[in-house]
Symmetry: C2
Subunit: 187 residues, 2 copies
DNA sequence: GATGCTATTGCAACACGTTGCATCTGACAC
DNA sequence: GTGTCAGATGCAACGTGTTGCAATAGCATC
């Protein structure tokens, strides 16, 4: 009932990041020159300070992990994030990671949803806001693209003015293949 | 961030069920005369035995709780179910309840979904299959009725043949009232 | 009613995530 | 450079749910 664990294709890559990333020196994340506006976290340290929050080594570690993930699927569970942080800093504490994720969500750097199994899934921004489809047959997962999302959101918003948080949407069911091979699973 | 705990309006009522419900005698659930087809669990003992499964006191306790809930909202968390079972039988063990719920889900007696906070929510059947809307502002919850559901399901099924499991669908967002009072929460 | 098989239970340990609290430290003021 | 203080960390305990395993007990059979 569990066990459909996504592989970690970039796991090794984390340890091969540009030199200096894991040292105590200021990393590229401290670069607030304005030339790195391509990433939403380029000016994160100053954004934190502007809110009276702080830029700590633990937060830098998590941000480095998230930067790598933004280049891949952009979807990870809390446990995966902790493991990846531990690869960079073995002293990483789970509660610190989860608390930092809360802060980053406030800042719009990440969003979280709950997968079909109830576990948290984090999405690294920037990405088009999207929901997810999870097949309970083959454990596959797909994104709900903008077109489908529009119809879906309109269906709910139109009738009662409910504003859907698309990034938190996980739809369970059977994909076309699984539905075909077991046509009467849910009569 | 948590704490929007639904009250348990029927908690006391559980202990006031019809006489015989909590005794060791065969309850109404053992009645397979065919005259109680109104409830899907009237013949549960024999349905279990037909599958090589067993009818135990622990399962009877849970079924009695579910029978009460079917008359109310039909939505409960795992913890609430355990508490209600303990009201009938203080020796109730959580793992037994969860395992029994798995069995009952296989039999179609209950369905489960995950709320916006990731916790499990169980729905007692029979009920029209429906999804849920959760407002992250006021913590309110509403059901997605058949009309909305049809449009929504069609939006997903139409484009790629994905068969939506509506009863597992929880949509987070802001209700009309909350959306109005905080118009720019998610720009 | 007695017997045997095996589904089920109770328990303990585990997994993921949250929370309370004492301690530490980033960052601002001087 | 030093002092100050609120935000952040580390740790332990907790909450909800799952899993492995030995012991128990339904229930089919005789």
């Amino acid at each position: 009932m569990r066990g459909a664990r996504a592989e970690l294709p970039a796991a090794a890559a984390i340890l091969e990041q540009p030199a200096g990333a894991a040292t105590g020196e200021p990393s590229t994340f401290d670069d607030v020159s304005g030339e790195r506006e391509a990433t939403p976290w380029a000016d994160l340290p100053s954004r934190l300070r502007a809110r009276g929050l702080r830029w700590t080594p633990q937060r830098r570690t998590l941000l480095e992990v998230l930067e790598v993930l933004a280049g891949t699927t952009g979807h990870v569970t809390g446990v995966e994030l902790i493991e990846r942080c531990r690869a960079l800093d073995p002293t990483t504490i789970p509660s610190t990671v989860y608390r930092t994720l809360d802060v980053l969500e406030d800042l719009g750097i990440v969003r979280h949803a709950h997968g079909v199994d109830g576990r948290e899934e984090f999405h690294v921004l920037p990405a088009i806001e999207h929901g997810h489809l999870h097949c309970t047959g083959c454990q596959g997962a797909w994104e709900i693209g903008p077109d489908e999302a529009r119809t879906l959101v309109a269906a709910i918003e139109g009738s009662r003015g409910f504003r859907v948080d698309l990034s938190h949407l996980s739809v369970a069911g059977l994909c076309a293949d699984c539905a075909t091979s077991s046509p009467e699973v849910r009569p």
